[in-house]
Point group: C2
Chain length 101, copies 2
């Protein structure tokens, strides 16, 4: 999906995904790590959500963001394959896409 590449073309959004690698985080917790306004962060979240790279659920007044590894994997692997770059998914993570390590 082209939206995935647009989404990860921005450094702030790549950093958001990196933070989400550890564990799901609320919008506010994520925003603390960046020197930009909350509305700007919210816009970044929208881009990531529309690309399917993150999923959300509400928890009280918090909105929890969670990374969606498979969408990222599909895009990267698909592109890598189309280009003839032989990237492979790590079999250790198969069926455990959100593994911390």
């Amino acid at each position: 999906m082209s939206n995935v590449f647009k989404a990860i073309s921005d450094n702030t959004r790549r950093e958001i995904l990196r933070l989400l690698r550890e564990k799901p985080l609320s919008a506010g917790e994520i925003s603390k790590h960046f020197p930009v306004s909350k509305p700007t962060m919210s816009a970044h979240f929208s881009v990531l959500r529309e690309a399917g790279l993150v999923a959300t659920h509400k928890q009280g007044k918090l909105v929890i963001y969670q990374i969606n590894m498979s969408v990222l994997e599909d895009a990267l692997l698909g592109f890598s394959g189309a280009i003839g770059l032989g990237l492979r998914s790590n079999t250790l993570n198969k069926g455990n896409k959100n593994a911390k390590s």
Copy 2:
């Protein structure tokens, strides 16, 4: 490198890389595959070149573009690692980054 992700965020540029997978091509040969003007294509080539994704050499009046697999591999693998997505380089292609298949 952030420029790599910007470069591959555009569909035309991803297609250019896909064409270059087969073999090095001149600017004109590449341009034939796209419904945009030559100057626009030239601008796309600049973005790819500045990201280090392609290298060029002149051959008479032709400018030959060649894909640089290792830069792409480094960026994708680096990001994949930072995010905790366990992509690995295909060992079959080790030391043969420009392999056709």
